[in-house]
Symmetry: C2
Subunit: 208 residues, 2 copies
Amino acid sequence: MQQDFGRRSNRDRTEATRADLIAAARKLFTEKSYAETGTPEIVVAAGVTRGALYHHFADKQALFAAVVEQEAQAVADEIDRASPPSLEARDALIAGSDAYLAAMRLPGRTRLLLLDGPAVLGRAAMDAVDNRHGNRSLREGLVAAMRANMVARLPVDALTAMLASAFDRAALAIEAGASAEDYRAVLMALIDGLSPAPRQAARPARTR
Amino acid sequence: MQQDFGRRSNRDRTEATRADLIAAARKLFTEKSYAETGTPEIVVAAGVTRGALYHHFADKQALFAAVVEQEAQAVADEIDRASPPSLEARDALIAGSDAYLAAMRLPGRTRLLLLDGPAVLGRAAMDAVDNRHGNRSLREGLVAAMRANMVARLPVDALTAMLASAFDRAALAIEAGASAEDYRAVLMALIDGLSPAPRQAARPARTR
DNA sequence: GGCATAACATACAGTCTGTATGTAAGTCGA
DNA sequence: TCGACTTACATACAGACTGTATGTTATGCC
């Protein structure tokens, strides 16, 4: 009978509080940095207390991980939206690259995903995030390009990681004011250089 | 009269104390991380007090910057030692790459220089460090390779940054247990892929 | 020798993180 | 629908750390 306005199920409460905390943290982590953002500041922005934060997240780092996860997902979505599977291999790669660079222009994203993320969560944890979201499409694009014989057969994981890293650096440089065209040109050259052309082969690799 | 044993000039004192602090901090920053290492711990390891630390360095971050600078210098030295100017352009690039990957195998260096460094000091500050030490030789190698027509003419700064970033990722992956051969193979492919256009790379015409 | 200054050591204030404890609201079986 | 139990918080607290202010000792210099 009583349609209590304030009455919400526990699940709704949890969901709303978590979302508020993540949103507030995201804003502060991107405006400043992980280290410069304190939990008191976050909870004020979220309209709750530190008790709520530590009820829903193990620690500040876990909250940060949730923010990173969400942001990586957002970037991946933008990329997927820009490179439909209808595109041909090379075009898909290029469209995806451009979409990535565009997505990373959102202020604070580079620091969150490329600087603080690896430092706070560790490279291994960030690799897991990337493989879940960002790098997945890149990797698939590379595999497709290899099948289409547009890219030499190379160890896929290593190639994916290194190309992604080059993308990352491009995003950072562009945000810092470097010429986006320069970086885009080099990116293209790197990708096109991978085609299995009749070039001189790499010499036998002596790893050490 | 009294030939005080402990008598040392101020310059010597400063130099010794700074060196002790940097060495102790280096050890702890590489064993753990910047965030997990406190100044009380550092000064105990260095055999001084926090007063000495804050006398010689503006703050914890400045001490960290000194450690990073020293470590980047050490890496650059190892690379220079491995790629004498007598080498031909492509060989010099490859020797330098291998030397870099070898140097980065020293435990903790990747975290210090590739994770904590950019996060704590910012990408801009780390770029300055890299340009002073590490990337310098890479950039010179690329310029030489371009002159020898072994590498396409591309924006040098962008190319240097992106290749360096790929190297960095390789170093991180290898430390994390990935196949060094895989990464080296991709590295070679990336470099060789840069040779100008369809024609097989011309015989290097000795730089200048 | 004595003053100025550098090189520290000690003491302190403020802030932050994580935890422990307390309270209100929701869930659920009987 | 009532009471036990659990969840979702808020409040209070302990410990640690950073940076600064102040005090002390050693050196440089005239």
